[in-house]
Symmetry: C2
Subunit: 382 residues, 2 copies
């Protein structure tokens, strides 16, 4: 299959590109290095030393004899995106090409507007280019479980059947996103749903939980194939950030009481889910929604898990319960459904003590690269 990965230089995009390439698919990555530029702006960097995109691609070719094509362009630049899609003619487009940080989007007006315009316009451009050039291609779009927020009812997969005043309809699940970033994904979902209804495009919206993990089978082959691993307040997600904090002796930064629950999955399961969605495309005119996660934890549970694993491998660390910089409920109902991907054959990699310990060991190897400046939360929602 011809598979185009937007955001193919990123934490998930690069491993996804290698994953499909290793299985014999023709793969192209599209990126304009927005993510690397965000880190330059805030003075942070990946824990892992990541190669430049052409060097990664060359290393992949040297090691596997497989070719990953690349298009260096901003998907907000429509003529450039059109040319790339016309040249590669993808059958599936895996769309990670968005700015993925809630705190980043809350810094100030510029970051809020920048995040929404970048994400919404990139996706709109993609929809128009698909309609005009590859109307039968399948869009596999990364959304987030954060689109739903924490309603007081169980979270279904994208749609909910509502009985109201004696009538019934199945409608988009109501959304309570918690940042301008999460809002941008809600906007995308509405735009994609419309494009499927009106133009008959096919799409799968993957509402992904918080991803953790440093390695996939392909990143372990050679250091030149490493993917990025962030631990700063903007782009570092809970478990990954806790592992770095544990290794460098920084208290684990839990926001508020840490009783807020979230859905999580291992980076290896991201690849599994994206592959399942890609190999089982949506119907023409359909926007399927899959909730992409394997288990849920409270943030405090996660911190305790890391603290205990760290103790076993020789690191003592405290947990710091900080004033919550975010606007979020700390006590809430949380029971999201994830039947669709399990139904397609997802075999979850649950979070185990072994897995946390091996992540701590992997982090150890790069601990000299840690910069402290962007770990503590300074960005607030108020």
């Amino acid at each position: 299959m011809r598979i185009m990965v937007l955001g193919g230089d990123g934490y998930l995009g690069w491993p996804t590109a290698m994953h499909f390439s290793s299985r014999g698919h023709e793969v192209a990555v599209v990126d304009d290095f927005t993510r690397r530029r965000c880190h330059l702006q805030q003075g942070s960097d990946s824990l892992t030393p990541i190669a430049a995109l052409p060097d990664r691609i060359d290393a992949w070719h040297d090691l596997t004899a497989s070719t990953i094509e690349s298009f260096v362009l901003d998907i907000c630049d429509y003529p450039a995106l059109e040319r790339a899609i016309a040249a590669f003619r993808p059958e599936a487009i895996i769309h990670y090409g968005e700015i993925p940080s809630a705190p980043w989007s809350m810094i100030d007006r510029d970051h809020a507007v920048g995040t929404q315009v970048n994400n919404v316009v990139g996706t709109l451009n993609l929809l128009w280019a698909m309609k005009d050039i590859v109307p039968d291609a399948h869009l596999v779009k990364l959304g987030t479980m954060g689109e739903y927020g924490t309603p007081n009812i169980d979270i279904e997969e994208g749609y909910i059947t509502i009985e109201h005043k004696g009538r019934t309809d199945t409608l988009p699940f109501p959304k309570l996103p918690g940042s301008f970033y999460h809002l941008s994904k809600v906007h995308d979902s509405h735009n994609i749903h419309f494009a499927c209804r009106v133009w008959g495009l096919r799409a799968t919206d993957l509402n992904q939980g918080v991803v953790y993990g440093i390695h996939t089978p392909e990143t372990e082959i050679d250091e030149r194939l490493l993917t990025r691993f962030d631990y700063d307040e903007s782009f570092g997600t809970a478990l990954n950030r806790f592992c770095v904090q544990a290794v460098i002796g920084h208290p684990l930064t839990v926001y508020g009481q840490g009783t807020q629950r979230r859905a999580f999955l291992n980076i290896r399961d991201t690849l599994q889910c994206v592959e399942l969605a890609t190999l089982n495309p949506a119907d023409a005119g359909e926007m399927r929604v899959f909730n992409q996660f394997t288990e849920s934890f409270s943030v405090a549970e996660l911190a305790t898990t890391v603290q205990e694993a760290a103790h076993r491998v020789g690191y003592e660390c405290d947990i710091a319960y900080l004033t919550n910089p975010r606007f979020e409920k700390e006590e809430h109902h949380y029971r999201p459904v994830n039947d669709n991907l399990l139904g397609l054959g997802l075999t979850p990699t649950f979070l185990s003590d072994d897995l946390v310990e091996s992540t701590l060991h992997a982090v150890e190897r790069y601990k000299d690269r840690v910069t402290l400046r962007s770990i503590d939360p300074r960005i607030t929602w108020k």
Copy 2:
């Protein structure tokens, strides 16, 4: 009260400015003439000859001794918007400042992206400026009934209480918008809801039906105070367009079977509703939603009403049932609720034969200004 009207040069914005000014409020209008430029681009124009903004304002002053302040700026230009809000310090901001056309947004990628960026960024800018400068001001935002689409359940006012698997929550009403323009308003609604929740702003989202009518008490005072009246395929809404077609002997252009039902209101009731919302502000942290319409009709019923009224005043016209250029259900349930504004005291001006006849007479006066080129629908959703 100090009231700022964004889009204060438009069809509804200008009469709204005069309405509040005539009642002794301090009024400022903000506009960058986007709407006038859209008409220049498509070679269409208002049926009514409208004065330039400074001339309107001078005429209003000459006739009433009241002053309307003006800020000529694009609300997507954040520093300019900030300066205006800091200078005027509004207590209420009535936000009509968006591109309001579904067909316009469907022309091509540029118009789709242009509409969404213009509308979403303008509103985001406004939310940030309110938070920073006038956090206690009340945002009265014009949304549209088209945000809901035509679900198979009754349409509530912005929120719906859902009982699901033994639990209950009141959540944003699911949206099925039918164009990139309608989607922009859905995005706005989500962004505003978030800003109210997180920052404690106060907002009223008015989901307005299709507005008809040529005059308000203030526009009738003097020809220099006329508001615009559009009949082209992009900006001319059903009843207004039908009246112009009847007078010039053009068949009334009904899309499809015309059985699609929509909610309507008279322009005088728009002013009444906006005034009721403004004088009864939302609480801090609250985004109220009012469905702003007075009655609903099918498009075919409306065309027949105009055809019969035209016959009585001496015009014979046909109804042309055209292939529907839009993507919309023609047979559907439609029972929207509008209790909130009625509860605040709205006295509806229902559509009467008299009212259609008087609109036809008002149109007659300007019929020599009609250009045919933009009446027939050429923009399609496919």
